[in-house]
Structure formats: C-alpha cells, structure tokens
C-alpha cells in the first residue's frame, strides 16, 4: 500500500514448528483503525504477537515494514521502542512489580509522577497503582490497565487484543473512551500520529470505536477485507460459519 505506515507482505508465521499464518497481506496508514474479526483459533492473536515480535511467533516468510523500516528481524523490545505497543488479552501476573512501575517504564523516564496519576484517574485505576501487576485484577481492570500503559507509551501502532472480552457494559464504555483517546479519535485523521489494529471476536467494541477497515481471519489467512460495519453486520446476521463457507468457496480448489 502506498503511504502505508504499516505494511505486512506475504507474512507466514509458525508457532512451535506449526504454520499458523499463511501469506498475510495488510496495510495501514497513520490515523486509521482497522479491526480483525475471526472465529476462535483463526490466528488473530498470532498475527498481533508476530507484529509485536514475540520470539515464539517465528516469521518464516514475508516481511513487516513499519514506518519505512523492515522490522521483520527486529527484536521485541526494539519494535516497542520504535513505536509498536500492544494491549494483551491475558497478560501475565508480575508479582512485586507495581502498576505504577509499569506505567513509569512506559513513560520512558519522563517527568511522570503527575502523569501517572492523571492516566490512572482517567481509567479509574488510582487504587491500583500500588498493586502488583495484574495480580487479582478483574477482566475489566486488566483491559483498563493495559490501555493505561499504552496511553503512557503512546505507540504509533497500537495492537489491541480483544478489548471487550470478559468486560461488563460499564467497563466497555470506559474502555471505548480510552481507546478513542489512544487512537486520537478527537483529532482530524490527517493530524493523527497513530493507528490501531483491534482484534474483536464479537464486534461489540465497534459500538464505541470507529474503524475504517475490517478483515475476517479464517484458518490463518485473511478471508476478506472491507468496511468494518458491513462485515460485522454479516457476522451478526449469519455467524462466522458463513464467513468460513464463503472463504472456502473462493479458496483455490474450494
């Protein structure tokens, strides 16, 4: 894609010797939000983990170009420092490391005491700053804490894994607000400095966050690409079975 800030070309990824993603192509410009739909086990999280650079997700073919740089071989932490951030669906508990420490680390040593407080307040997590990372956090608290870290980190590319899973209605509205703030939705598109790729299984998050493009992932490939709301409407009406059937009809030899 021309002018793309993120360009994924023919990406093939294996995990523990098994090929999970096959020939993925995807492009995003700054200011855009894209959503990745797909049934469980279709490879959505694998794609995010591979973009983020987790060593277990081994890229065997293809490349990832981010801000004009081929990052395919770049380690995880260097990608993070280059401007890729991720909100995890199920982050690990890190005993002894407080949320305050994590947010401070995300702020990269800037003058941060005040900023940490502001961010925590925004996410209704002030009481969590001195708690151990993710220890005893509820589903909604985990999502909000992930987003607070990303708001501190301010990545150019935010990878958001299932922001609504395990979250009640009150929480999801707040999560929507945090995501909109992270993705600079209050700014005109040309002025935004960031972009987002959101995984959603149910699509509920689209009630709160606008996304330009949607993809349906089936069995490790991108089955279709189009208007995110149109895709969601089809999924809501006919379920993922229809996506899979449609995909198989079009697949070579299908």
């Amino acid at each position: 894609m021309k002018d793309a800030a993120l360009s994924i070309e023919q990406l093939t990824v294996e995990v523990e010797g098994r090929e999970i993603l096959h020939n993925i192509n995807l492009g995003m410009k700054l200011g855009e939000t894209h959503v990745l739909f797909g049934p469980n086990g279709s490879g959505k999280t694998t794609l995010l983990m591979a973009i983020m650079g987790f060593p277990k997700y081994r890229i065997t073919k293809g490349k990832i170009i981010f801000k004009g740089q081929d990052i395919t071989k770049l380690p995880l932490d260097e990608r993070a420092r280059l401007g890729i951030g991720m909100s995890f669906q199920r982050p690990p508990v890190v005993r002894g490391v407080k949320m305050r420490d994590m947010v401070a680390a995300c702020l990269k040593g800037q003058e941060h005491e005040e900023r940490i407080g502001q961010l925590a307040e925004k996410a209704d997590l002030v009481d969590f700053l001195d708690r151990e990372m993710n220890y005893g956090f509820s589903g909604g608290e985990i999502k909000r804490s992930e987003l607070v870290q990303l708001l501190a980190q301010r990545p150019t590319l935010a990878l958001i894994d299932e922001p609504e899973s395990g979250v009640d209605l009150v929480n999801i509205a707040l999560i929507g607000e945090l995501l909109n703030s992270l993705l600079e939705k209050d700014c005109p598109i040309p002025e935004r400095k960031c972009m987002g790729l959101i995984i959603t299984h149910t699509g509920h998050i689209l009630d709160y966050v606008n996304a330009r493009t949607g993809y349906v992932m089936c069995d490790g490939v991108i089955g279709c690409e189009g208007d995110s709301r149109e895709i969601l409407a089809t999924i809501r009406e006919k379920g993922y079975q229809e996506c899979v059937r449609c995909f198989l009809r079009r697949a070579p030899g299908g």
Binding site: L76, A80, F88, V94
Partner: protein, 411 residues
C-alpha cells in the same frame, strides 16, 4: 572490661553444650578463631570514627555523621563497645555489661528467651562472651526514630561473641536498626550473636537487621522473642552481600493473647555463600497471629529457606510464604515450610515457590520498551520488594534503599 556475671547454672549448662552441634547448618570449628579481648578507644562522638569504618557502617544502615534520625546509637568493634548514646527520652542504650551492673533484675531476662544450651554457639557466647547491647524503652514511651546498633568485625580471624537484650516495656514502641559488617572484604571472622527480645503487654518493636559480611565470614545468630498480650514484633532481615556460611532460625513466642509477630527476610546468595535461614513462630496464646515472608535469590550460592509455625491455642492464625528465585544456572534453593497445629480452630497456611524468572513476564515488560536486562532487573527488584505492614515509612524507605543499593551487584 567488666566481667559479666552469669549464674553458675548458665555456665554449667553452657559447658555441657560446648561441643553440641547446631540442628542446622555446617559445623563451625570455633577454636580456629581468635578470642580477642583487645580494647578499643571509646568514642564520645561516633562521627570521629575512621571514615572507612563509617562508610562500611553506613552501608549496613548505621548513620554516624548526622544521626538526627536516630533515637540512639550503639557501636561495638570486635568485642569492645566503643560508643553508646541516646537522643530520646525514655530510651536506654548501653553495653550489656553496663546494663548488668546497673540493673540487678537483668539476670531475670538472661537466657530466658534463648536456651543457653541450644548448641555450641550459644554455649560459646555464655562462656566467652564479650558484651553486646542493651536497648530498652520505658513504659508508654514511643520512639519515632530507630535506635541503631552496629556490630563490627575489624580484626582478622576474630570471634565476636555478643549477647544482646532488648526490652520494650508495656505500651511502648521501639524501632531498631542493627547493621552488622566487617572492616575487610577478605579477612575471615566469626560472629556469634545471641539476641533476646522481651516485648511486654501492648508494646511494639520493629527490628531491622542488615548484614553486610564478606565471603570468609561465618555467622551464627541466635535470636528469640517473647511477646506478651497485644504486643507486636516485626522482624526484618536483609542479607544482600556474600558471606561464607550463615545459619539462623530466630524464634518468636506469642505468650499473650492477640500477640502478633511478622518476619520478613530478603536473602541473596552468590557463588560460595551458604545460607540456612528460617523464622519460627510459636503461637501459644489465644488470637495470636503471625506472618512469615521470605524471599531468596541465588546467583550461584546455596540457600535453605525454612519456616515454621506452631499453633497451640484457639483462634490463632499464621501464614508462611517462601519464594525463591534462581537467577543463574548454578545454585540451589530449598524451601522447607512447616506447620504444626495441636488443636482445632486454628488457621495455618503456607505457600512456597522456587524457580527462575518466567520468560513470559520478561517479554511482557520488553513489549513496553524495556531491554531484556531492564525487564529482568525490574522483576528482580519487584521480587525483592517486601511491603512490610506496620513498618514506619522512614524505616521502610531505608530498608528499600539498602536492598536497592545491592541490586546492581546481582544483576
């Protein structure tokens, strides 16, 4: 120096135990160390001590240059007390020999918490004892700042045998920082320290002990506390520097209703260090409580982390947590948590975990932009952070500083 008068029975008992090996830890041949009785000049102003000694003491939490934030100070070099002073009313700090001269009643406390015939080390302290400290806070007095005590090994191959008595009278509050350290990084030495704590009804004692030894020093502390009704004993132990061999298993006995004891230890063993460190709580009175937390890291040394809680009265509650982290391919951590209950209606529990840093946690932090080293350091720092309930913020901050000062050595 003043001869410490002990009753004949103590001496007799000690003599009978002089060859008795300890229940745990490598057997130390006490006779290979020097029993120095050499005097040291008394220092009215401890800031006049040599800069190198002050620097060493400072690293063990003992501040001599500007001790505004201390309620009192005691310093012993080898076997000679060189300074004792108080800055706060209601607090007494002196050498135990002075205290024995001053108070006839002190013999009522002598070897009452620790048995003199526990092992050869307690016996040796009784038979060849050269002082120690006496710290007491009078009824109802509450110290704001801690009393500091330093036991310092200066001479090569010295055996330092001390007997400390700590008394918190009814409804008092006492904070103590004890720093034990050496003048040299390589000379061998032996530190035998008996400490007996008497925490009276409604009194609160926090005791923070920082050990900075060297790879040739053997250490055998023998401590016990007796806690009366509504009393609180908070014992924190930090060992971040190499030591040849260290074994201790302090015991706290809750004898009064609703007495509380908490033990926190932070241990690091590098290659060549052998640690056998535990904490023991005996809950003998109704409603008494304990919490024992131990964090152990090996970068090549061996650690046995013990814990023991015994519940002998109704409504007692105890929890024991031993966590060990193996940072390199070498080294060993053995966690041995033990619980004993002798009646229904008690609530004792433990958790123990030994392992390496989870890769998943390191990568999680790396995804926030930290390098692998920074991520590992953050996790280790978190592991070592013990938030101690009831410890005044000042002490908490000092404890954290002592831990952080050594963190870079282990990374």
């Amino acid at each position: 120096m003043v001869e410490i008068i002990s009753s004949k029975t103590h001496k007799d008992k000690a003599r009978s135990a002089v060859a008795k090996p300890a229940a745990f830890g490598e057997d130390i041949d006490v006779s290979t160390y020097v029993d120095s009785t050499e005097g040291q000049p008394y220092q009215t102003d401890p800031s006049k001590l040599p800069a190198q000694a002050k620097e060493r003491m400072l690293r063990a939490g003992v501040i001599l240059d500007n001790p505004e934030q201390r309620a009192g100070t005691f310093i012993q070099i080898d076997n000679a007390p060189v300074h004792s002073s108080v800055r706060q009313e209601g607090v007494e700090v002196m050498s135990v020999s002075q205290a024995l001269e001053k108070y006839n009643w002190l013999s009522d406390y002598w070897w009452q918490a620790v048995a003199v015939d526990t092992d050869k080390y307690t016996a040796n302290v009784e038979l060849n004892q050269y002082n120690g400290y006496f710290i007491r806070v009078l009824p109802g007095y509450k110290t704001i700042y801690p009393v500091q005590a330093c036991l310092y090994l200066a001479k090569a191959r010295i055996a330092q045998n001390v007997h400390n008595i700590i008394i918190a009278e009814e409804n008092s509050e006492l904070h103590i920082i004890t720093g034990c350290t050496t003048a040299s990084d390589e000379e061998s030495g032996l530190h035998l320290g008996v400490s007996e704590f008497y925490i009276k009804r409604g009194a609160k004692v926090t005791f923070t002990m920082i050990h900075n030894w060297n790879p040739e020093v053997a250490v055998r502390p023998r401590s016990a506390a007796i806690i009366e009704e509504d009393g609180l004993f908070l014992s924190n132990y930090v060992l971040m520097k190499p030591v040849h061999s260290l074994q201790m298993y302090p015991t706290a006995k809750c004898v009064g209703e609703n007495a509380v004891v908490r033990f926190n230890s932070v241990l690091i063993a590098d290659a060549g260090s052998s640690l056998d460190v535990g904490s023991r709580a005996i809950l003998d009175a109704k409603g008494s409580k304990t919490e024992i937390i131990s964090r152990a890291i090996t970068t090549g040394g061996n650690i046995v982390a013990r814990g023991y809680i015994e519940g002998n009265a109704s409504d007692v509650k105890g929890h024991l947590e031993c966590r060990g982290l193996i940072l390199t391919g070498e080294g060993m951590i053995r966690a041995i948590p033990e619980l004993k209950g002798t009646l229904a209606g008690i609530d004792l529990s433990h958790e123990a975990a030994v392992g390496k840093i989870a890769e998943e946690e390191v990568e999680y932090l790396m995804a926030r932009g930290l390098t692998r080293n920074e991520a590992t350091a953050t996790i280790v720092r978190g592991f070592l952070r013990v938030d101690i309930e009831g410890l005044p913020p000042l002490l908490s901050a000092e404890l954290q500083r002592a831990i952080e000062a050594s963190e870079k050595d282990i990374m």
